[in-house]
Amino acid sequence: MENSEKVRPDSILSLEGISKRFGPVWANRDISLNISQGEIHALLGENGAGKSTLMSILSGRYRPDQGGIRLKGKAVSFNSPAGALSIGIGMVYQRFMLVEPLSVAENIVLGCAGMLKSLDMGRINSEIESFSKEYGLYVDPGKKIHQLSMGERQKVEILKLLYRRAEILILDEPTAILSPPEIKPLFETLTRLAGAGRTIIFISHKLEEVMSLSDRISIMRRGKIIATLLPEQIRSKRELARLMVGREIVLKVDKEKVPVGKSVFAVKGLGSGGSDNHIPFDQIDLEVRTGEILAITGVAGNGQDTLVACLTGLLPFKKGSVTYKGRRFNSLEWIKTAKRGLVYIPEDRYGTASIPAQSLVENFMLTRVEEFGKGPFLDLKGARAETSGAIDHFGIKTPSGPSSKARQLSGGNLQKFILARELGRKPRLIIAEHPTQGLDVGATEEVWDSLLRQREHAAVILVSGDLKEVLSLADRIAVMFRGKILKVISTSDEEGVSQVGLLMAGVSERTDCGSI
């Protein structure tokens, strides 16, 4: 295993000693890498390993604090994405850089021709149409971006780069937002482009993809490249995971058996309306009892977000009813009612579950204001005392106790704080959405423990796309695809469990294989 490479003669791209700092943290530390023309190179690593930073430097979005880049042996420098693109390096980001109100063609030609040139949209549209067909990436050039699916938008992003004659294409987690049927065509496209002489670098944390698509794999951890390997050199996925994380990750979960109690929460025939921002769902029947953990899983973008918003009463639903603690509610009633005992742990820690600019005391009161104070007045002292207690009890690391601002806490500690706040409300029903996203292994284990312990007096609905998490925690798994629940599988059913992956791809008894 090499971790620093000398410049190879056939390298089209060489990174030498790249380092980048953000404040006190070194996101990239002395990185050197050589890539050959026509190669598909994967950059593998966990969250925070530094992959995105490195690629942002390569694509011109950031400038390195130290080190340099060579293209075809010559040293190059550029200080903007446009600069990088002008020498042939282009990147497709996870969050697409497409101007939504403009059309496909407008987005593709944006920034290309000289300013004063007039736009003949008719000619440009037909030009783009044949261009896209030539590369097997056809999209209707006249459609506006906001009308396109994720896969189509990704095609536009790739077309943008090809239009500008990019030789080196960088893709950041390209399959993260694709639905399973869109993944194979993408891989075929990339392989075709590589065969035609383009060099492809892609970032991923999905071991399977990396193994099947790439010519070589570089593994990053904590800002450095620790190994560059051929797929054949990897003996097992387990070893790959170990390289990524640095130790054996066997997340052992002590899952005791807990008696299952009464039904706490159920929905019947739930359906949402369609709207611009929400992927709709339909015909949802679910039920969860005390002592149970029901997981709702699926590839991101199949309606889970909308479902959670409706379950928590933040979004109205169009059809069906909700039953909570024995009482039935329709949409308006569910939104208006107090929902005592229902606790929601949102996916978005910083934008929804907490207010980064305010103190922990103020954040503690976010969902518990009524507990602190008489009548219209606040009892700040009482709130502060409770907050302190929670911080101690849950072992949350803070710079200055309850007065610390929420943004000063690390992701893991913030999540622990949010859990402390919510679980302290003695809930009967917990809806937890991607609770360990972005957390390191230690924090993840703590969160899992907390949730498991809640089973003694509560029911838990766990929404997560992380199969490992789902399989470790849940008693039953509901797989969502295109807004419907395809099947609910008990985790004790081994054969059922093996189907979960297929179900997530939309393959079930209800649909034909392949007609998706």
């Binding site: 579950a353 103020e362 104070g373």
Partner: protein, 355 residues
Amino acid sequence: MVVFKVEKKADSGFSLIQILLLAVIPAILVGAVIFMAVGANPLRAYYIMFMGGFGDWFHFSEVLVKATPLIFTGLAVALAARMLLWNIGCEGQLVFGGIFASGTALFFQSYIPDPLMIPFVLLSGFAGGAVWALLPAILKARWEVNEIITTLMFNYIAVILMEHLYFGPWRDPMGRGFPGTAMFNESAWFPRFFQTRVHLGLFVAIAACMLLFVILKKTKWGYRITVTGNSLGAARYSGINITCQRIAVLIISGGLAGLAGTSEVCGIHLRLQQGLAVGYGYDGIIIAFLAGLNPLAVPFVAIILGGLIVGGDQLQTTLHLPSSISLVLEGTILLAILASNFFSLYRIRILRRSA
């Protein structure tokens, strides 16, 4: 190659005082340049301005008189801004407060016993401003219609309506002085103090500041406002009804501006007349900003701004220089504060690039 990189500071740098100082100095310099350009001695000009506002008790009382409506409008804008709402419509709400107060004083005199007249006038003035803010509030809360533009447009509509009233149906039959309505009956006149023009309005204004401070810091409603102003997502998550809250805050904000109009109309003019809409509403925006949205700081900033305005008038009387110099200084201070604000939030690092 030397490159300047802009970085956000981990802790927000300067205190308000530092910023104010950093802003006042450039403004003073700019003013000095302008004075010299028209042949006046800057030091003398500034001295006259200062004495014009703070030279003796009488002049200071005039500053307090000017500050009274400014405190109300500053408070109004500050309250709305805490929820990230821009109430640019204080001018129109002020006018409508004046209209409602005048209407009460002129036409309901026979129905309201004299001692109750002032409370009624205050209430109707508040209601007038609140009513005028209602439509923009609903448009924003329900449909996200930009409140900067709607409240701005409503300013003009209010002034036109007011002019229509005092040139038309409410015209003073005796037709004296400025165009306007008849004088109010004395029961609607705000009492004055210290043998100056300082009137009840000032005390109501200061009381409003203190009340608002307590509400924001110590009540659940105030907490919810702070939360909403900090994060809409978190506010929705915590169950706050943002639509209702926006409407409530804008209405109260409008009501406060309405009180500004009431206090001008019942405290100084004693009628509804031309000269009510002179820009206090817009000044309120500056005051709220300079006060850092803090209700307790509003009166002080209002007094400073009042001093600037009165000083400008004095300059006009004594040196025959246009009083609009105070606007120039206001604008410059504001621009300088915006610039220095930047330096308190961001740091510029100088990096050396390799090749």
